[in-house]
Amino acid sequence: MDVATDFWGERVAARRRELATWGMLSFGVHAGMLAVGLSLSVSQFSVPSEVISVDLVTLPRAEPARLQRPEPAAPVAPVEKRRPREVVLPERPSAEPTRARSKPRPQPAPSPPVEQNYADVLAELRKEAGETAPTPRPEPRVASVAPSKPSGPATVSPEVAAWMRSAKAHVRRSWVVPPGFRTQDLEAHLRVRLDRQGRVLGNPEVVRSSGNPWYDEGVLRAILKASPLPPPPQADVWSFVFVPEDSL
């Protein structure tokens, strides 16, 4: 059957010689079939539609926005991650994934007792996300949301830095990112009011939408599900930025 299977692939069907062979093998017998075929009309094919569904949707939907197409470079990572090791692809060197990324590291150890500035914390958080070096990605995207002074590094105490790390790890455990979102360039910014016990007060505020209402909703529910967070240094409004790992 393998020979025939090969023939069925069009790439082989394209081999003229084999085509000719098949042509010679053919014999004209089934004229009756032709008549049967002619007597039919395409429009006769119909199956009654039997399902009636009544929508009583309660989830508010911002807009019927379809998912945006991914950024050109973004989808490389998820695919590359899953590729079996044994496969070598010498024939196509240019298509080798360009950005190898390591898996996220284990959850953070207690923070070292040193003063850290914003850049350090940011670098550390990024390092946990698996990035080893600063990427060409525009850094100030976060700074624009954090209500700290845009110029000069904001400073956080070791206590705050440690809490930020544990809060991050805690929220991340509650966050489900469907596969379809991992290949897209999505980023949502939230402001969340926490009390001294780490409980989320009221509804978190989306200060910058990802543009995808379902992604935003998933982020909101992650924060709610994470409540109570580890007790923060002070009851306050804290900023969270949610980025799918694979689009970093």
């Binding site: 059957m1 025939a4 069925w8 692939g9 069009e10 790439r11 394209a14 003229r16 053919s26 014999f27 017998v29 049967v36 075929g37 002619l38 039919l40 395409v42 094919f45 039997e50 399902v51 569904s53 009544v54 929508d55 197409r69 991914p70 050109p72 695919v79 899953r82 496969v87 024939e91 196509r92 298509a95 996220p104 914003y118 958080l125 946990e128 698996g130 976060v142 700074a143 954090a146 209500p147 904001a154 400073t155 956080v156 930020m164 991340r172 509650s174 966050w175 489900v176 596969p179 379809g180 979102f181 379902w214 529910r221 804290w238 900023s239 969270f240 930025v241 980025v243 799918p244 790992e245």
Partner: protein, 452 residues
């Protein structure tokens, strides 16, 4: 390295200033710390609690409700988005007969404590004429109803259809893109020795034959309404002609273009997204070329015209372009042209053998077969960026990709277990599942749209 005392002093001064500032300036807004950047962790699925469905019409016999729930479960799991928690994990009332809102809120608390992200409560009602099913999807993070929906279908139709549609709606509620468990795949199988056309549910069940003519039947594709299947068959004059059959075999197959004559061999035929015309591959003595033709056989137009082979047309979702395979450069590569044959452009440059293009319904990707080390793998080409990335790489051949209507999954055939079987995979490479089980060779899958 010895520390520079001046730098040390400056650093100390800076530290003091910062500490002073942080003590005295604490109440001001400028002190707010930077944002906490949360990247996605390992959680890839929602934990969904699926409670027993209550059967109002037959409360004493819960078998129907259990069967319905099991179909819903299959549909949910197919998405790869959910882990379903067994209802036995829940210590409350098992069967949810008419639950009041207060009871549902109580359930919500219990489910959250068990670790569920959401839960589904539903009921069935069966009459002589119809089956009615309704459900509520609750989110445990907010104890809020996410979705509530009611369905009805005529009695005698498979309950599974309704259950899968429910599953696909639940998937859409979480992602904005409907699930595809209630769709169908048409394919070629040699389970009766000769290649015949079959249709099955996208989840792999309910295989039924579309053809059983004992001849050779190849290259199936769907009509726009999902009711008809176009394929090539040698049953007429033992030459390749295109046929149109009803997927449910309600009518005999129809010979599509007898007027092209037996000298012009017809291979693959695919409808354009408007359903008005088809792209077909015709070989008349010379090499195979791509044409368009109306369904009634009128307006035959030749799109490619050269000495090389042009095959495997695949429409862009807007119907403006056709991706195809040509060996005009010396080896088979993927090209794209306008629907009138103009503006031909080569898309693949890596590798010596790239075939079988399939354009994703969202227009973003072209999946294709790439020959790597003598075997075929499935690759994805980013249509806009032009970059190609591997999706499925395996020492055995993986062939014939076709897209799910939601552009989130691909079905393909693979010989990784010897005979060719059909597999589905998410486009990020996750969630690989085998659909067919070694009955003959199963190849040439074409994923249909939502079930008609």
């Amino acid at each position: 390295m010895k520390p520079d005392p001046r730098k040390l002093g400056a650093a100390l001064l800076g530290l003091c200033l910062v500490l002073d500032w942080s003590v005295f300036a604490r109440p001001t807004a400028a002190e707010a710390p930077p944002a906490i950047i949360v990247t996605s962790g390992s959680a890839r699925t929602y934990r969904l609690a699926l409670q027993e469905f209550a059967d109002r019409s037959a409360p004493s016999d819960a078998a129907d409700a259990k069967g319905f729930r099991s179909q819903l479960l299959t549909g949910l799991e197919f998405s790869g988005l959910f882990d379903v928690i067994e209802w036995t994990a829940f210590l409350g009332d098992e069967a949810t007969s008419e639950l009041t809102r207060a009871e549902l809120l109580e359930d919500c608390d219990s489910w959250r404590q068990i670790g569920a992200d959401a839960f589904v409560e539903g009921r069935l009602e069966r009459s002589d004429q119809s089956l009615t099913a309704q459900f509520q999807l609750w989110d445990t993070a907010s104890c809020r109803k996410r979705l509530s929906k009611r369905y009805r279908q005529l009695a005698g139709r498979d309950d599974a259809i309704l259950a899968r549609r429910m599953a696909d709606d639940i998937v859409e509620n979480f992602t904005g893109v409907p699930g595809v468990s209630d769709t169908e795949i048409v394919f070629v199988s040699t389970r009766t020795d000769n290649p015949e056309i079959y249709v099955m549910n996208a989840t792999g069940e309910s295989v039924r034959s579309v053809t059983s003519n004992g001849s050779i039947n190849l290259f199936p594709s769907w009509t726009l309404d999902g009711i008809g299947v176009v394929y090539t068959s040698y049953r007429h004059l033992n030459r390749p002609y295109l046929f149109l059959a009803s997927r449910s075999r309600q009518k005999p197959a129809k010979l599509l273009f007898p007027s092209l004559g037996s000298e012009r061999h017809q291979y693959r035929g695919v409808f354009d997204p408007s359903g008005r015309k088809m792209a077909i591959v015709v070989s008349a003595q010379g090499p195979a070329e791509i044409y368009t033709i109306n369904e009634d056989g009128s307006d035959l137009r030749r799109l490619t015209n050269n000495r090389s082979i042009d095959v495997s047309p695949a429409w862009s979702p807007d119907g403006e372009q056709i991706a195809f395979v040509s060996d005009r450069s010396g080896s088979p590569q993927i090209y794209v042209m306008g629907a009138d044959g103009s503006q031909v452009r080569r898309l693949t440059f890596d590798g010596s053998y790239n075939t079988a293009p399939a354009w994703s319904p969202d227009g973003a990707w072209i999946a294709y077969e790439a020959r790597v080390k003598g075997q075929f793998d499935i690759w994805l080409l980013d249509v806009e960026g032009g970059q190609a990335i591997p999706l499925i790489s395996h020492p055995a051949s993986d062939e014939g990709p076709s897209w799910a209507p939601n552009s989130r999954k691909i079905v393909f055939s693979s010989r990784r277990r010897g005979r060719a079987d059909l597999y589905v995979v998410d486009i990020n490479g996750d969630n690989l599942r085998r659909l067919t089980r070694g009955l003959g060779d199963n190849t040439s899958p074409a994923w249909g749209k939502a079930r008609p």
